[in-house]
């Protein structure tokens, strides 16, 4: 019997992530995607809802802005389904600043991601702050030109997102609460799990990969490097310069501030203070100086008072 050979012409060859333009230049490689996140390290990324806020953020020294229609605190207050922002509003923000602009799409909503990709967004946040569009699958992020950042609560979740193509990770924290407790919990959990994995032999890592539902090769790489293989920012509840420095001292590479700035009494001053705090996060004298006279911080929410379906960090799989 002759051996069976699968036909070679049923499907077109799979397109690779990267594309080239004839000079040998390759765009959208993982190195290029992760490289931008490396350049954002030690910086603050601020949520903004219009060009005026974006300019305030840029003048304060933000290393990037996140363009969205409502900050998480207002998404909480208004309720309903939260979706990707109007592309025109994102483009206006993009035109107003020279720093990178990020935008959010819903978990699993790959068409929102296609739209953000085509308007030339610098980073896409597949975010639990918006209402999930898929309760089982995240987006296959390898297919896009734009890089992705995704949230995590623990090491397994972080590595699953990286396997799907995320070139940057952030803690989920609990967005729109002004309460840093969940961001701390998530950063400490990731750190503790990496330390555990680092002490394991390759043989033990197979079992640990199964336990935390993480791809073995990525887990092994993380364990041996002693850190996540991509840049890891803090997010979700950072409201003060001290909160931001706390997350940096816990080992995060940078900080996202959502509602904390533009829901406070003096946004420009608070924005500047948080930028200085992240740049000098080990210097308590600087931290004391920048923490003075900041005016009202955003009103915080205790996580235990949130209704179960309003805990954003439980979104994502």
């Amino acid at each position: 019997m002759s051996s069976f050979q699968a036909p070679q012409n049923l499907v077109a060859a799979a397109a690779a992530d990267a594309t080239t333009n004839g000079t040998g230049a390759q765009t959208a490689t993982f190195t290029v995607k992760a490289g931008l996140a490396q350049m954002l390290k030690g910086g603050v990324i601020m949520d903004v809802i219009n060009p005026e806020q974006a300019r305030i953020a840029e003048e304060a020294g933000a290393c990037a802005v996140m363009a969205l229609e409502r900050v998480p605190a207002d998404i909480r207050k208004n309720g309903g389904v939260a979706r990707m922002s109007d592309p025109d509003m994102i483009k206006e923000i993009k035109a107003s600043v020279s720093i990178p602009v990020m935008a959010k799409c819903r978990i699993g909503h790959f068409v929102e991601a296609q739209i953000l990709d085509v308007i030339g967004i610098d980073y896409i946040d597949e975010s639990e702050v918006l209402t999930p569009a898929d309760e089982e699958h995240h987006i296959n992020k390898h297919k896009f030109r734009a890089p992705f950042v995704c949230g995590c609560r623990n090491l397994g979740e972080a590595l699953r997102r990286i396997a799907e193509g995320a070139a940057m990770i952030r803690t989920k924290g609990e967005a729109g609460t002004g309460n840093v407790v969940e961001a701390v919990r998530h950063a400490r959990t990731v750190n503790a799990e990496i330390r555990r994995a680092s002490a394991m032999s390759d043989d033990e890592l197979y079992a640990y990969a199964k336990e935390i539902r993480a791809p073995y090769e990525l887990l092994k790489q993380t364990a041996r490097a002693g850190r996540l293989p991509v840049v890891n920012f803090a997010a979700g509840g950072v409201a003060t310069p001290a909160d931001a420095a706390l997350m940096m001292q816990l080992g995060c590479d940078g900080v996202f501030v959502g509602s904390g700035i533009f829901k406070s009494g003096d946004p420009a001053k608070r924005a500047r203070a948080i930028v200085q705090a992240v740049a000098h996060y080990r210097d308590a004298t600087v931290l004391a100086n920048v923490s003075e006279n900041l005016g009202e911080a955003m009103v915080g929410i205790n996580i235990s008072e949130l209704p179960e379906d309003q805990v954003y960090s439980k979104r994502g799989w």
């Binding site: 390759q26 350049m39 390290k41 030690g42 020294g61 020279s98 500047r272």
Partner: protein, 236 residues
């Protein structure tokens, strides 16, 4: 992008006296990556993070790398923390290397600045264009021709080097005494663009050697720093 590790180049760092002290401006961005590469390039050099006025005024600091990242963030933070004037003075007296945002900060003039403009150190007589290639989706990696000057004896005959351009600038105009070290190859019909230059003790490139496995640029800068120190010591 993985390259074999070249031999550590220790030949031109001082054999006696205190070791070379090379700083990496650690205000924001990928400064850690530069530290790792400098350690590899010069095992016997001290590589330190530099943030403050006092650290920049340390007479033992032999050279400084200004990394990539956001040039606006770095100038705003440095100005607010009182380190800007010391940085301004340092880049005019000791060897300095700017990569990407660092090249923008060193330049005399920059196009595509943020509204209201931005502070530049102005020690390098070139005009750069920020975000020359557009947004992140247009960022790319490419193999560039080896600039002969950058290679040491042991590197001769090795391949081109990998370069990452991340929301990168290019050099639009060069002033007097600026040598172009590398050009970007373009598709037919377009003119080449300068992406690495040297002016005296100032080195600048639009791409990120610290994000590749290739430390030839770092070794080149270490030699610049060692040469300048030797010249200073001979004059003293």
């Amino acid at each position: 992008m993985q390259l074999t590790t070249p031999a550590v180049d220790t030949t031109r760092t001082p054999a006696e006296g205190r070791p070379l002290r090379i700083g990496v401006l650690a205000i924001q961005s990928g400064f850690h990556e530069h530290q790792v590469m400098l350690h590899r390039a010069a095992a016997n050099a001290e590589v330190v993070q530099v943030r403050t006025k006092a650290e920049l005024e340390d007479p033992a600091l032999d050279g400084l790398v200004i990394p990539g990242g956001e040039s606006t963030t770095m100038s705003i933070v440095a100005q607010r923390s009182g380190a800007w004037d010391a940085l301004h003075a340092f880049v005019r007296k000791r060897p300095v290397w700017g990569t990407c945002a660092g090249m923008i900060l060193l330049s005399a003039d920059a196009l595509n600045q943020k509204k209201d403009g931005q502070a530049l150190l102005g020690a390098l007589p070139i005009t750069v264009r920020r975000n020359r290639f557009g947004s992140q989706v247009d960022s790319f990696q490419i193999e560039l021709q080896e600039p002969v000057e950058v290679l040491s004896e042991g590197d001769k005959g090795s391949a081109g080097f990998p370069a990452l351009f991340i929301r990168a600038p290019v050099v639009e105009k060069v002033g007097e005494d600026v040598k172009v070290l590398t050009w970007l190859p373009r598709t037919s019909g377009e003119s080449s663009e300068a992406v690495a230059v040297r002016h005296g003790d100032i080195l600048a490139c639009a791409f990120h050697p610290e994000l590749t496995g290739d430390d030839r640029w770092h070794r080149y800068f270490v030699r610049m720093v060692a040469d300048a120190r030797r010249a200073r010591e001979a004059a003293a």
